[in-house]
Symmetry: D3
Amino acid sequence: MTVLTFGEIMLRLKTPEHLRFFQSPVFEATFGGGEANVAVSLSNFGIPAEFLTILPENSVADACLGELRRFGVGTGKILRGPGRLGIYYLETGANQRPSRVVYDREGSSIAQAVVGDIDWDAAFSGVDWLHVTGITPALSQGASDLTLQALRIAKDKGITVSLDLNYRKNLWKYGQTAQEVMPDLVRFVDVLIANEEDCQKALGIETAVDVESGELDTEKFRLLTERVLSDYPNLQKIAVTLRESESADSNGWSACMNNRTEFLLSHKYEIRDIVDRVGGGDSFSGGLIYGLLSFETDAEALEFAVAASCLKHSINGDFNRVSVAEVRALLGGDGSGRVVR
Amino acid sequence: MTVLTFGEIMLRLKTPEHLRFFQSPVFEATFGGGEANVAVSLSNFGIPAEFLTILPENSVADACLGELRRFGVGTGKILRGPGRLGIYYLETGANQRPSRVVYDREGSSIAQAVVGDIDWDAAFSGVDWLHVTGITPALSQGASDLTLQALRIAKDKGITVSLDLNYRKNLWKYGQTAQEVMPDLVRFVDVLIANEEDCQKALGIETAVDVESGELDTEKFRLLTERVLSDYPNLQKIAVTLRESESADSNGWSACMNNRTEFLLSHKYEIRDIVDRVGGGDSFSGGLIYGLLSFETDAEALEFAVAASCLKHSINGDFNRVSVAEVRALLGGDGSGRVVR
Amino acid sequence: MTVLTFGEIMLRLKTPEHLRFFQSPVFEATFGGGEANVAVSLSNFGIPAEFLTILPENSVADACLGELRRFGVGTGKILRGPGRLGIYYLETGANQRPSRVVYDREGSSIAQAVVGDIDWDAAFSGVDWLHVTGITPALSQGASDLTLQALRIAKDKGITVSLDLNYRKNLWKYGQTAQEVMPDLVRFVDVLIANEEDCQKALGIETAVDVESGELDTEKFRLLTERVLSDYPNLQKIAVTLRESESADSNGWSACMNNRTEFLLSHKYEIRDIVDRVGGGDSFSGGLIYGLLSFETDAEALEFAVAASCLKHSINGDFNRVSVAEVRALLGGDGSGRVVR
Amino acid sequence: MTVLTFGEIMLRLKTPEHLRFFQSPVFEATFGGGEANVAVSLSNFGIPAEFLTILPENSVADACLGELRRFGVGTGKILRGPGRLGIYYLETGANQRPSRVVYDREGSSIAQAVVGDIDWDAAFSGVDWLHVTGITPALSQGASDLTLQALRIAKDKGITVSLDLNYRKNLWKYGQTAQEVMPDLVRFVDVLIANEEDCQKALGIETAVDVESGELDTEKFRLLTERVLSDYPNLQKIAVTLRESESADSNGWSACMNNRTEFLLSHKYEIRDIVDRVGGGDSFSGGLIYGLLSFETDAEALEFAVAASCLKHSINGDFNRVSVAEVRALLGGDGSGRVVR
Amino acid sequence: MTVLTFGEIMLRLKTPEHLRFFQSPVFEATFGGGEANVAVSLSNFGIPAEFLTILPENSVADACLGELRRFGVGTGKILRGPGRLGIYYLETGANQRPSRVVYDREGSSIAQAVVGDIDWDAAFSGVDWLHVTGITPALSQGASDLTLQALRIAKDKGITVSLDLNYRKNLWKYGQTAQEVMPDLVRFVDVLIANEEDCQKALGIETAVDVESGELDTEKFRLLTERVLSDYPNLQKIAVTLRESESADSNGWSACMNNRTEFLLSHKYEIRDIVDRVGGGDSFSGGLIYGLLSFETDAEALEFAVAASCLKHSINGDFNRVSVAEVRALLGGDGSGRVVR
Amino acid sequence: MTVLTFGEIMLRLKTPEHLRFFQSPVFEATFGGGEANVAVSLSNFGIPAEFLTILPENSVADACLGELRRFGVGTGKILRGPGRLGIYYLETGANQRPSRVVYDREGSSIAQAVVGDIDWDAAFSGVDWLHVTGITPALSQGASDLTLQALRIAKDKGITVSLDLNYRKNLWKYGQTAQEVMPDLVRFVDVLIANEEDCQKALGIETAVDVESGELDTEKFRLLTERVLSDYPNLQKIAVTLRESESADSNGWSACMNNRTEFLLSHKYEIRDIVDRVGGGDSFSGGLIYGLLSFETDAEALEFAVAASCLKHSINGDFNRVSVAEVRALLGGDGSGRVVR
């Protein structure tokens, strides 16, 4: 069972601690991106995972490959091409001050790619599951076309497809809107992952839930997931992450899933001293795919995904550096934070 | 509309993170001081701001000028003279352990200055608003005399004067007490800024409010502000910051204002994971001056000042590195800390 | 009045901030170990304290001696011998992710020592109080034998003996279990320090208190302490620390003591943003010994110990870098975290 | 006398010390670029200097403005526009391993600009001297056109023009070669700055000097400068920097100038422990413009420029953080490195 | 063509910059060891390389695996077992002060291993070349036996064997001397690598060359290599590295080789500002194996090895992070250190 | 045999690496000062050493005491008094750019002290040797008077006195010149330490040696030392350090001594990659006192002092962190910098 994720990986330039840009003349430099983050999660959980992207030919991109290898992610299918390595700048917020991302990903190699640049037969060799997100189709017409092509071919090959809607309002600048593109993609998907805002902005499915407030109405989420499943009969299941943002440091974190048979609502974790929430959603996707591949019930898969992504909030960087044993310990009820020695 | 602030700027030597002195052989080195902090806030908010002080002639003081210029603060009126650059050492506390400041500001250039060292006509050229604090008169007889002279001349020139009482018990060592000096200064002030302890220690106006407890009685603050306004009929308004200290990391933060017409009580922010509260009061002053210059109502000005200074608690260093847009976002109700991207 | 503590001191290699191992190619390197931590606490409180251990002959061990001297701890009795300097690796957790310790202390000089390697007459010269923990007897047969010998000879010399049970499940690998060894040691002890799990694992005294839950039942602790005092009639008093772990960042912290006359329950501190809890128990022991030597009542001693160890949670590193004045300020009711300047 | 420099400023991401990319997950983040570097040099020397570029609207670019202001460089003419902030990655070499630059400047705001985007009348307001380099015309057709337009208009306005040929083989990708573009620009120039390779690659003027070898033949440089002056009769003078690279750490550094009256050869500095040679040529340009504006003879100007840029090699970052007094001390013969205290 | 290297990999704890132990409470933490260093070099040069060792089961050892994977080194044959991860502490010297290594490798997993712990048939699967060093047999009787067993079996399987004598006087503590052990190993070797001291201390082959002096007599090295080849007729060739230590920062670096047909003396590099010379010999071995596998003549292989290891001296850490293209650039004559951009 | 040194210890605030002030918002914070540096050297060499100064009562000064204790320096005689802890800022130069010190030591506790503040009988209890420098009398009239008093009383008590002239042109601001003060002090001295400039500036003894040039004429130093010995018949011997400054990184370092019987000229060390030369002279004094106390001949003492201070140039910070064994290794001829492992 091998999972391939396809998308963009970026250089992530974060200010140290909670500093604003250039309070200190230093950036913490790591790599990250929705699909790569999922591949790293899976590899950390012991699932063979490969990442497919296009990178430029330079030594910073070489270092990116090395980082992926370090986690055991397969990099053999990664292509090199024209364009640049996308970047995102990150300031970590605190309390009432939100974290801020400045994207510098225009002109990236993947954004410059067009249909024909990727040999999908080679890419899908040995692959059982494909995971993509709504970020790649937001980058450029070419990246959007490639994503659609990937889903089509995957479907033809009988590969399971998961997609995280991942709506980003500051992307989608190339002339198409999310609602014009995403529905066509979702029609090839087996497992859909989203949050409430994604459903609204990417699929146009409105609900009355107020994203800004902390209060969540789970009943509304049942309705929301039912509407999505109804609109997209190809979907086997949809999982929705439920973040209650109280401050930059303190969130409630849970998720629900509708598999057409049952509506499952997970345990909710109160996360009070968040280290880094960027990549939280991706760590949920990684946990969910692991869970669906490993457990007998969707309920178990969902709880694993929520626990795995709860732990992500304690880890700096996009990647969720936790093991199955650590997630299981939390699932087993030990969130007390006692020193393990 | 140009604001001049006058006072001392110091080198701030902070231990990294929450370390105690010399746990690591490193200090974070920035600059700060009540009046300079206000100038930086104003400049960040787009208000032309100048800072007046006296610095020694050496390359560390040169770097201080550079830092002020970086924020757009006007440094053209800063004088160079004998004496040293004042310093304060800072350890950041956590939980039940308070932050600690060790002052090393004796013999600073501003403390050694005497009447005659500053040409106030030149200093007030183009100035519409003067802001000072109760720290400068606490430094030395000369600095005290210069502050009084500044207020007198500003008043003569029709310049609006704001003063933050800012009582510091470890200063006031040159032979005068705060209560002997501050009342004479306050008689030249239009906008007074204080906290409860300041009123008591600097003006001798007692109230029954218990500073150490977290509970605050707003009614008492109405009475307190009325008493101050009654004693000082020149005052147009008084603003009082209300800090409820639960721990080094967790404070309630709000303020009230009495403008002789109405008693205004602001929204209260619960700040749970404070990054740095030093300079919090100064960021309130900066926000208040901006607000009074920019909004139609005192209520709006007060809310802006409280929101601006709430955000300061998320920022390392004396300076409040936030924009009007960021304060407005918080005022607009988004303190949820969701990632902005 | 001089206190000698005997045991192992290790190099502590901690990842920066909350990073996992090798997220950054850097370790914060300090020294620590239960008994050395107690000596440092006592020296910081003004009590003459000496530390006895065996270290290898190399420059890293030399640096360890220097660090102890820095705190005024007497190092003149420390021996040099074969073997290595023990190490422990530490990752600091956050929220639901616990801190993790990886021990690398096998083959340490103290673990390789055997009876005969320490001249106890010389070691106890001028000593009034001996403090040991249950860690040293867990290292090796030799270290266990030496601990028993130390207690016997101390008892003969009329030296007061305190022992912190400090059960560590990943030690005790040399063929003996804690329950086979510890009871024999406890029979020489005057002041016993423990937590609930220690009593169970090291002495086999079961209670119904659930360690994993946050809820604590003080009545049960009264019974627990009574049972221990009943089983070990030599004990003058037993103190039990009560940690309520809500997360890696947030703990309730208190303690109780039974001195055969009264059962004392301390004030409970809510510690919400823990900087470092490793060494928390040792800082309690240090505070308790100081308190018993300095105050008239056990109640005062207990409160001092709890306040001292509450403050430890705000300090990075094994050592509790606080003064008596700082503990007294907290005892006096000021845990509000207001900046001291 | 105000100098305007026009071109691109980039984020410079340097690995710490001599590390290769991602040996440590950190970049030192500063700003730099040929023309900005010259403006900073001039401002540090007390010459009013302004920098003109186009930057995107984001907070990283805001920080760039702050850094320029810190040095007193005028930023009032800087425009904001579409595109990105260019980046260059830097590894500092050692010994036989050269420093390496990876450019990531495609799509920068200045590269996307076209004729019409800059109002040159406004830009040249109050300007007496314009400095540009051969880097800007290498970026894009638009940037090339803008540079030519700038020179034309400056010439019309009687503004002195200096140009540093600064050939970069990895730029010039938009369809024009340096030799197709640069000669047309040089025809508007008063003071030309170059090294031997620049003359060959940008102007096609060949000499027999071997760039790779350390040996330099000054006679050839006399001929080279004469050939350039002969080809470009508009030039008043040409200065050529002479770098003898022995290793990444050790260079000989000198320069020559031909002002049509005399051929001047400067003192040669042996620089043995180079801290950072990037920006060395720019610091020469800055020193030369200062010298030509401040001294009576070209010989003095040349010696100042060489001494100023010799000192640059001791300073990390693109900017030459030295004062006139420091350059004069070196010119005065004190390169002995004795501690100044 | 796959190369397997077998031996110990350690955690390397280096003080920052040139600091002595605990001048700063920080260690730079990387991994290294003679045989792993060779595998990393080979992988960086594009040769499939695997590393075989035994590591304990803990998360620090897991991180070690990740680091090897990052360079593409095959880790699939690495075993986990009892014992610890060996450590070496490193202070980097300067000038007349030498770098100092403190070993803490006793009790490592590989040192505790005995014959039977490694299945050599599995280990040698797909392997064409085996590389070992004289460090492993110096660790323990078991590690020595395993090394001998490895060579015997490799020989039987027709695998080419290279061995770097690598004499370390502070190892060899388990009862055997180098001269008792190494000759038996060398009898299975095809390519021997050594320096002059190694030949003397490990093989007992004396020469008159004075190791401490900088002067080297190449004639003596011809004789030395002839003697070794004469004593060990199985050897195809011997390469000897020639280091002329002038100071901690400045070395001459070259090598010679005797392949029974010709005595080859390489180019000598003067390395003046050494960043890190630890691992220099290993980078020579890696370069030599690459060269012997890739070039037609031994002369080319030798020059490649010397150039590759010259570059290693500019790189922090045990691993030689250079590419074939970089080595070729130096071989091609460009050691001038000009910035590559 | 116990040595007491008396003088000022300061906080040393150094920029990282070779950075100029505020290139990075960080200072490396250590402690140092001529006389404390000598005490640390002696303690590192195993000579009981005590340091006498006056420090303020604050936690930064407490940390200073801890640092001295770490090296085993006796701090029991240090007094606490009014005034501040002196500071010096340091930028480390490179190549032609010199290191720069900015003093901020006015108003220090020792500078504010007057005769009567120190009980010399207590201070000299158990002391056999007193070491002072020409820095303390340069601070203030009080400090000068105290130094004279110390020498007088030491002489009366038969304590050996050494004095390092240590002329600092930016001190001596209180109304006396060095030449008015120092000769009176030298009349109580047994062992005088100086460099050529000191003799000229502090004693008015001119020679023709050109301090700025690298060339040194040892004959002149013979004459110089003879003149000093002739003017001060109380002197037993004079040692003169000979620094040949080629650049900030590269110095020749040697010394001579005249003991009225012989003129000794030491070995000269070429130091090419200086890490930190501040404190170099103090490390010579420390080595010399050790040598005079430990060796039979002055020649041995002189060579030890020069070798010890040569090694100091490889060590960051004021203190010379080397052992007798390390100095002996260099004296024994091993300055080759080979790795010790």
